[in-house]
């Protein structure tokens, strides 16, 4: 068979999800956000949730998530997405409410909102992209920046005595009785991305079933902030990030 014969809709095994808008994302080439956005759009479509999903966008690189996934969105103040999602969920219990947050948003300025929403067991799914850096503002230290990692505000590498330790907030969230599912995944390979999709699917199912808060951390990359090519960033992530942020389920009840 020639490629021309193969390339017809009957044989298509993967296409751009319908719930991704036509807009080109503002993300840098190779950004993990794009992969996770695509996964979320696929799931909302496959799970038939486009009419009752409400996303809560963060402040950070994903601030414009609402331009890319074709469901209702609320753009929250920095770190406040879990509080915004709390009310959205409690006042609209039939909806799927999910937050999409970065490490600065979720684990620094929004730590209190994150922990208390999870501790109350709000029926929401929290998608947490941890790339260990503030991408939007130009590559400053994040709460999750690794020791020794160079950023715009740790130009000689993060030092515990100056900057404290990388915050493994997902481990903390797994300790809370309000969380039902806490997992750490990645999207650097096709296999990893498929597992992330399964994890977010479970998180959405839990929220719809009223089981409490689910947290899916996706250990991602920031090739611009890390000053690497996307492929190098994936390799660096697999080699260094997963040591402090090991992949896998932390809690699955």
């Amino acid at each position: 068979m020639t490629p021309e014969e193969i390339i017809n809709p009957a044989n298509r095994v993967y296409a751009r999800p319908r719930l991704l808008t036509e807009a080109n994302t503002h993300y840098c080439p190779g950004c993990s956000h794009g992969v996770v956005h695509r996964i979320v759009a696929e799931l909302l479509e496959e799970m038939g949730l486009e009419n009752r999903a409400v996303g809560v966008a963060p402040v950070g690189c994903a601030v414009f998530a609402y331009n890319y996934i074709d469901v209702d969105w609320v753009e929250a103040a920095h770190g406040r997405a879990p509080a915004v999602a709390t009310a959205l969920s409690r006042l609209n219990p039939d909806n799927l409410v999910f937050t999409y947050q970065g490490d600065g948003d979720l684990a620094a300025i929004g730590t209190a909102e994150t922990i208390h929403a999870a501790n109350r067991g709000e029926n929401i799914a929290i998608i947490f992209i941890n790339n260990a850096i503030y991408g939007m503002t130009g590559g400053q230290m994040a709460p999750t920046t690794l020791l020794g990692q160079k950023t715009a505000t740790t130009p000689y590498g993060r030092r515990a005595d100056l900057n404290g330790y990388p915050l493994n907030i997902t481990d903390l969230l797994a300790q809370l009785r309000g969380t039902c599912y806490v997992t750490r995944q990645a999207v650097h390979t096709a296999a990893a991305a498929r597992k992330t999709k399964a994890a977010i699917k479970k998180a959405f199912e839990n929220a719809l079933a009223g089981k409490g808060t689910s947290v899916v951390e996706v250990v991602g990359t920031c090739s611009s902030g890390w000053k690497m090519t996307p492929a190098q960033a994936n390799d660096w992530m697999a080699e260094h990030m997963t040591e402090h942020y090991p992949l896998g389920d932390l809690k699955n009840e």
């Binding site: 390339i7 044989n11 993967y14 080439p29 794009g34 759009a41 996307p230």
Partner: protein, 76 residues
């Protein structure tokens, strides 16, 4: 033994040339167009060796810009 034949298309205008699909492709089907750029200045990905494609969709699964479509037929 059934044979799997695949094909991919890349939306060259949407591609940002990040190369993650090229790295993910197990059959070295994809490459970046080193002598051409799209409207936004990126060396976009393309199927340099379509005959090798097995339609596994690894490329599309890691693509941050959802610009790859994958096709597959199984020849008995």
């Amino acid at each position: 033994m059934p044979k799997v034949i695949g094909a991919v298309t890349v939306d060259a205008m949407r591609c940002k040339g990040c190369e993650l699909c090229v790295v993910a492709c197990p059959t070295h089907t994809l490459a970046l167009k080193s002598n051409d750029v799209n409207d936004r200045g990126y060396h976009y990905a393309y199927a340099a060796d379509m005959a090798t494609c097995i339609g596994c969709a690894a490329c599309a699964t890691v693509c941050p810009d959802a610009c790859i479509e994958v096709y597959r037929v199984i020849e008995k």
